[in-house]
C-alpha cells in the first residue's frame, strides 16, 4: 500500500511527461519482474513450467532482491498489450512474455518504455530492450524418437501436432528420423489438433490414432489427456510433454520432455541486477539445461534406456546434432549432405517433412 501512494504522487507529478518517463519513478527496493502467461498456471504443461521457472528463479536470487508478479490466461492480441503495459506501470523492470502471440504486443510496449527490459519466448523480433529466448525441443524429440522406434511393436507411431509451425515440424522430423534410424520399418501418422491445450480434443486425437493401430503416441500438445486415453489400451506408450506428467508413469508415460526455464530466468534476472543485461537471442538446448528428459521408467528395456541416455549425453556434450546429414526432404531431394549439420536459420524456418513421412503439412 505504501508504494502505491508514492506511485500515485509520482504519476501525478509527471502527468505531462511521456509514458516512458513515468514508469521510472516507480521502483525502489527489490527488482520487480513480471510474467505474462497464456494459460492458467494450473494447466500442468506450458504455463505451469514457466511458473515453476519463475519460482525457481526467486528461490535462486532471493526474495529480498526480486519480487515477481504474473498474469495468467492473457489472450494474445490487444489484451496482451494492456497486460504488459499495466505491469510496466506497476513498476516491473523486466518482463517475460511467454507465448509466441505476444511478439508484436511486446515489441509495441517495449518501444514506449525504453528503460524496461523485455524477454519474449519463441519469437524472432528483437529490439534494444527486447531479447528472445527459446529451447531446442527437437533435441529431446530425438531421444524420444529413439525410444519410440525401439518400443513400437506395430511399427506405427502417432504424433499429435498442435500448429504446423517450425518448432512442431522440427519435433516431427526429429522424432521420425531417430525412430527410423533404430527401426527402418516405422511409420508415422500425424494428427493436427490445431490447439495447444484442449483435453477433450487431444483425447479424441489419441483415440483415433490408437484405433488406427498406433502403439506409441508422441504429443506436441500440453494436456495429459492423451496419456489417460492411452492408459485404456494396454501396450500403448506415451511421453510427457512440457512437464513430466509423472502421474502416468511408469506406463503409459515412459519418459518425457521437460521445459526447464528456471536456469534461464535466473541468469537473466541476475544480469539485470548486475547491470550486464543485453538484448540477445537465446536458443538453449540440453547443454544449457533448457530441455530435460524426465525419468525413463522401467517399462523401457535397459538396453533401450542405455541407448537413450547415451544420446542425451552426446547431445549435451555437443558431439551429436539431431539434424546431421544425410537427410532428404519428403520429395526425395537432398536437404543435408552426409555429415552436414542443419543451421539454426534453416531450422527456425523449417516448413517441410523429411523423407519417409506421408501426408502434407496443412497450409
Amino acid at each position: 500500500m505504501k508504494r502505491r501512494t508514492v506511485l500515485m504522487g509520482g504519476a501525478a507529478a509527471t502527468l505531462s511527461l511521456s509514458m516512458g518517463a513515468r514508469a521510472v519513478l516507480a521502483q525502489e527496493g527489490p527488482l520487480k519482474v513480471g510474467f505474462i502467461y497464456v494459460g492458467p498456471v494450473g494447466d500442468g504443461g506450458w504455463t505451469y513450467q514457466h511458473d515453476v521457472g519463475r519460482l525457481e528463479m526467486v528461490e535462486a536470487i532471493g526474495a529480498d532482491k526480486v519480487e515477481t508478479v504474473f498474469q495468467e490466461s492473457v489472450p494474445e492480441g490487444p489484451d496482451a498489450e494492456r497486460a504488459i503495459t499495466q505491469m510496466v506501470l506497476g513498476g516491473a523492470k523486466l518482463i517475460f512474455t511467454t507465448s509466441f502471440g505476444y511478439m508484436d504486443p511486446t515489441i509495441n510496449v517495449a518501444a514506449k518504455f525504453p528503460d524496461v527490459k523485455f524477454e519474449h519466448a519463441t519469437g524472432y523480433k528483437r529490439a534494444d530492450n527486447v531479447s528472445t529466448y527459446d529451447s531446442r525441443f527437437y533435441e529431446g524429440r530425438a531421444v524420444i524418437g529413439t525410444i519410440a522406434g525401439r518400443m513400437t511393436k506395430s511399427n506405427k507411431i502417432g504424433y499429435i501436432g498442435s500448429f504446423p509451425i517450425p518448432e512442431v515440424i522440427q519435433g516431427i522430423n526429429s522424432s521420425f528420423l531417430h525412430a527410423k534410424k533404430v527401426n527402418p520399418a516405422v511409420e508415422l501418422s500425424v494428427v493436427w489438433a490445431f490447439t495447444w491445450f484442449d483435453p477433450a480434443k487431444e483425447a479424441d486425437a489419441a483415440k483415433a490414432l490408437i484405433d488406427q493401430g498406433v502403439d506409441v503416441i508422441i504429443q506436441h500438445t500440453d494436456s495429459t489427456a492423451p496419456h489417460a486415453e492411452a492408459q485404456k489400451t494396454p501396450g500403448v506408450i506415451t511421453f510427457g510433454q512440457a512437464s513430466d506428467m509423472s502421474a502416468f508413469a511408469p506406463s503409459p508415460r515412459v519418459a518425457s520432455i521437460i521445459d526447464n526455464w528456471g536456469p534461464y530466468y535466473t541468469k537473466r534476472v541476475q544480469a539485470v541486477l548486475d547491470g550486464s543485461w543485453k538484448s540477445e537471442g537465446t536458443w538453449g538446448g540440453m547443454k544449457d539445461g533448457h530441455v530435460l528428459i524426465g525419468p525413463i521408467t522401467e517399462a523401457v528395456p535397459a538396453e533401450v534406456k542405455a541407448e537413450a541416455e547415451k544420446m542425451i549425453a552426446d547431445i549435451t556434450a555437443g558431439t551429436y546434432h539431431p539434424f546431421t546429414g544425410p537427410i532428404n526432404k519428403q520429395d526425395g531431394s537432398v536437404w543435408l549432405a552426409d555429415g552436414v549439420v542443419a543451421t539454426d536459420e534453416e531450422l527456425s524456418g523449417l516448413n517441410f517433412y523429411v523423407e519417409g513421412i506421408v501426408g502434407d503439412i496443412p497450409s
Partner: protein, 308 residues
C-alpha cells in the same frame, strides 16, 4: 479414401464420443418441448463436469460423482428457472448468463483439481475392472453411462409420446395459456422440465470429465453444450432423431480425426468444419417445405405469466 479405417472400431468410437452431446441434447429437447429455451446447456454441462469430478475424487465413487454432477447442474439451473419462471426474464439472455457464470464458477471450484488424476474407479463404474488388461472389459465399463443414455432416449420418447405426462408437457410448450386454463401448473411443469434437462446436461458433462478425458481443466466441455443445442433443432425436438443427430455429430468428429490418423489426403481445415456445415445443410433439408418452422414448440422462448 477411407482406406485403413475399420468401420466397426469407428462405430464403437462414435457411440462413445457422442454420449455427452446425446445426454445434453436429450435433456434440452424435453426443456424446449415444455416451451423453455435454455441456452445455458454449456454452463450446466461444465458445472456437472466439475462437481462430478470433485465428488468422485473426494469419495472415490463414480456413482456418487455422477449423482453430484446432476445435482450441481440442477442447482445452477435453478438460477435460470428463477429468472425466467419467477422474474419473467428473457430466456436467451438468462441462458447465456448461465453459461458465462457456469464457465467462471466451475473454474473457481475446480482450481485445486487441475492435474489431479481421478481414481481409476471413477472411470470404471463396475469396480476395479480397469486394472484388468482386457480391452473388451474396459470397453464394457464405458458402456454403463452409454447404455443409460440409450435407455433414456427410449424413456423420453415413451413419456413424451405415450403418457399423459408427456401430453401435458407438450401442451404447456404449445400453448401455455390454454394449458393454464385447463388447470395445469405451467410454471411448476416448466421448472421440472428445466431440472430434468439440467440433470442430463450435468451427467453429460461428468461423462467428459470422468470417463472420456478423464481429468479436470477449465473449459473442458469445449463447446459441447452448443453442439447439443444444435442437435435439438436438427432433431426437430424428437428423441429418436436426437440420437441420430448426436451420432452424426460424434461420428463426423471421430471420422475427421481417424481420416487424419489414417493419412487421407483430405485437407484438415475442411474436415474440421465439416460437422458444422453438414448440420446446417441438414437443418435446411429438414426445415424446407414445412409450414411452421421445424415443428418447433409454439410457445418456445416465451415466458408465461398468469394474469388471472
Amino acid at each position: 479414401m477411407l482406406g485403413g479405417i475399420d468401420p466397426f472400431i469407428l462405430i464403437a468410437s462414435l457411440i462413445a464420443a457422442s454420449v455427452p452431446i446425446l445426454l445434453a441434447a436429450l435433456g434440452e429437447a424435453v426443456v424446449e418441448r415444455a416451451g423453455v429455451l435454455n441456452l445455458g446447456v454449456e454452463g450446466m454441462m461444465i458445472m456437472g463436469a466439475v462437481t462430478g469430478f470433485m465428488v468422485s475424487v473426494a469419495t472415490g465413487s463414480p456413482l456418487l460423482g455422477f449423482l453430484a454432477a446432476m445435482a450441481g447442474a440442477m442447482a445452477l439451473s435453478l438460477i435460470f428457472a428463477f429468472l425466467t419462471q419467477v422474474m419473467l426474464a428473457n430466456q436467451v439472455a438468462s441462458g447465456l448468463a448461465l453459461t458465462l457464470f457456469g464457465l467462471g464458477f466451475s473454474s473457481l471450484l475446480g482450481q485445486g483439481y487441475v492435474g489431479v488424476k481421478p481414481p481409476l474407479t471413477t472411470a470404471v463404474p463396475f469396480g476395479p475392472l480397469a486394472d484388468l488388461p482386457v480391452i473388451g472389459e474396459i470397453l464394457f465399463s464405458h458402456d454403463w453411462i452409454t447404455y443409460l443414455s440409450l435407455a433414456l432416449v427410449g424413456l423420453v420418447w415413451f413419456v413424451l409420446n405415450r403418457t399423459r405426462t408427456g401430453l401435458i408437457l407438450r401442451a404447456v410448450g404449445e400453448n401455455a395459456e390454454a394449458a393454464h386454463g385447463l388447470g395445469y401448473k405451467v410454471r411448476r411443469i416448466r421448472l421440472l422440465a428445466i431440472l430434468f434437462g439440467a440433470a442430463l446436461a450435468g451427467l453429460g458433462g461428468a461423462y467428459i470429465s470422468l470417463v472420456r478425458v478423464p481429468q479436470w481443466t477449465d473449459g473442458i466441455t469445449a463447446g459441447a453444450g452448443w453442439i447439443a443445442l444444435a442437435i435439438v433443432v436438427f432433431a426437430s425436438w424428437r428423441p429418436l432423431r436426437v440420437l441420430a443427430g448426436a451420432w452424426l455429430f460424434g461420428g463426423l468428429t471421430v471420422l475427421q480425426l481417424n481420416l487424419q490418423a489414417a493419412g487421407s489426403g483430405i485437407p484438415v481445415e475442411y474436415l474440421s468444419m465439416a460437422p458444422y456445415l453438414i448440420t446446417i445443410i441438414v437443418l435446411v433439408l429438414i426445415s424446407s417445405g414445412k409450414g411452421r418452422a421445424l415443428d418447433a414448440p409454439a410457445a418456445l422462448g416465451q415466458n408465461f405469466h398468469a394474469s388471472r
